[in-house]
């Protein structure tokens, strides 16, 4: 469960996140949408406890997220938009390093499992930096799954992927949802969000301006893109706007 209550973050005079309130239930896939600079990544960084909020609270599985809370991060598996690796490490070594960091029991076996889960078993001995962007994205997902967290935070997980890669990530998200994991992800690929998410929230200039089930959004606007344009362009029925 993710519970965000009146979350606010400012950078100087600019308010990046402005009084955000939302709830996401276990086993739910939540698409977090918004234009560049809308406050999605800032929100996700605060959810991870690597960025402090100026006001408001975040609870993950009932635990209040505080900046620097090491134990709290054990509840979350996170993948950023761009993957970053140590140049000397193979995929296997990279995951083993993080498995050790998360103190995963039987790390070698677990690394083999997650590599197989994301379809990288045959690339285990390749250097992570030599993989294509799509495969690097999968390796990032494997890292996020290592410690079996109840919540997955994915920032633009299909950004820059080819259609095969997008389909594989979609399947992986669905698989993790079916296991009862909460998946909270941001994306600009709205057609993809429509296929995977149960609910969507749209951020605009730091505020959550729209929240609905995907079915509801599609019923109201035809496509998520139409909903997005209507909401962020200010052309939306008042009843749909989030207070």
């Amino acid at each position: 469960m993710i519970e965000i209550d009146r979350l606010t973050r400012r950078f100087g005079a600019r308010t990046a996140v402005d009084g955000l309130t939302l709830r996401v239930a276990p086993g739910e896939v939540y698409g977090f949408l918004g234009a560049n600079g809308a406050g999605k990544t800032t929100t996700m960084r605060m959810m991870l406890g690597i960025l402090a909020s100026d006001a408001g609270t975040i609870r993950v599985c009932g635990r209040l997220v505080r900046r620097g809370d090491r134990d709290g991060r054990m509840l979350v598996g996170a993948v950023g938009e761009v993957q970053h690796f140590y140049p000397e490490m193979t995929c296997q070594a990279y995951l083993k390093f993080f498995a050790d960091l998360f103190d995963v029991p039987q790390p070698v076996q677990r690394v083999a499992e997650v590599l197989a889960d994301v379809g990288l078993a045959d690339r285990a001995r390749d250097r992570a930096v030599d993989l294509s962007k799509g495969l690097q994205q999968k390796l990032g997902l494997a890292r996020a799954l290592l410690h079996d967290p109840p919540v997955l935070l994915l920032d633009e997980p299909v950004s820059g992927l080819d259609p095969h890669g997008i389909r594989e990530v979609r399947e992986l998200i669905c698989r993790e949802r079916d296991k009862g994991r909460l998946v909270f992800f941001s994306s600009h690929v709205l057609a993809e969000v429509a296929q995977v998410a149960d609910r969507v929230g749209i951020m605009n200039r730091g505020r959550l301006v729209y929240e609905n089930t995907v079915a509801g959004a599609l019923a109201g606007h035809g496509t998520l893109e139409a909903a997005f344009v209507a909401v962020t362009g200010g052309n939306v029925r008042q009843a749909e706007l989030v207070a």
Partner: protein, 283 residues
């Protein structure tokens, strides 16, 4: 899946980070080149001393390894200061710093992991230095001092301070090049002031109003401050002015000072990192 988070002890996080840091440092050629340079510098200094003794007609040098050991350890310490700065700046520039913080890592465990890892790597080079000096002793006939093991072991403390210094300077930079440049300038000023002080002291004074006197006073003042601030000065104080001549009290004060200074630098680095954030380029 359980909602209660598993606790990972901070010591384990530090150990995992330190193991990677040490492996990365020892896996490259740099550390072995630095060790070779340190030994070459030490042998060269020893040869200079021997030649001077020969010219002066003195047969018995008091402590032929004092200056060579100082220089060798200083070269190694400099290398590890650069390694610390490069590694810290690279973590931020490459984005791996933020990814680490997706896990059970905070500012303190991250910095301690880096510090411990590089101290371990430094410790691994010490037997190489000892072996090199042993070879020099065999070839030159100058016996190694009995304090050599103590000098090498206690040098771990100022080496840690030097590494902490490199980390602290690199926390404020976003690029590897900037980190190396900042460290280079600061190290040059610190080492340069000490060297200039030694040179000026050798300049003869012709009359009481000589400008050299004023320069001497200025450099002496700067060095008095650096004596307590510069991590490189601690290396010399603990090894050269302490253990090597049996001045254990001097060495002890130096060790205590270096430990306190390392803790202060790490605390400053942690506060600075917390303020800047962990993302590429900083907040």
């Amino acid at each position: 899946m359980t909602p209660a988070p598993r606790h990972v002890p901070a010591a384990r996080t530090v150990a995992v980070l330190a193991r990677r840091e040490a492996a990365a440092a020892l896996g490259g050629f740099g550390v072995y080149i630095a060790t070779t340079v340190a030994l070459v510098a030490a042998v060269w200094l020893l040869l200079v001393d021997v030649r001077a003794l020969d010219v002066a007609g003195i047969l018995v040098p008091v402590d032929p390894y004092r200056a060579p050991l100082d220089v060798a350890l200083l070269v190694l310490a400099l290398f590890f200061a650069v390694s610390a700065a490069v590694s810290t700046a690279r973590d931020r520039a490459s984005g791996t710093l933020e990814v680490l913080f997706y896990g059970p890592v905070d500012e303190t465990t991250y910095l301690l992991g880096k510090l411990v890892g590089l101290i371990v790597a430094y410790a691994v080079t010490l037997p190489l230095v000892a072996a090199g000096l042993f070879g020099v002793a065999l070839l030159s006939g100058f016996a190694l001092p009995g304090t050599l093991p103590a000098s090498l072991v206690l040098s771990l403390v100022p080496a840690g301070m030097v590494v902490g210094f490199g980390i602290l300077l690199a926390i404020g930079t976003s690029r590897v090049r900037s980190a190396v440049l900042v460290l280079g300038v600061v190290a040059f000023v610190m080492l340069g002031a000490a060297a200039a002080n030694s040179i000026v002291l050798m300049v003869p004074i012709d009359h009481p109003s000589s400008p050299v006197l004023a320069l001497r006073d200025a450099l002496a003042g700067v060095n008095a401050v650096l004596h307590w601030v510069s991590p490189f000065a601690y290396m010399q104080r603990i090894v050269g002015e302490g253990v090597a001549i049996g001045a254990w009290q001097t060495a002890g004060i130096g060790v205590a000072g270096a430990l306190v200074a390392t803790c202060v630098m790490l605390a400053l680095a942690a506060a600075w990192l917390r303020w800047r954030g962990v993302q590429r380029g900083g907040e």
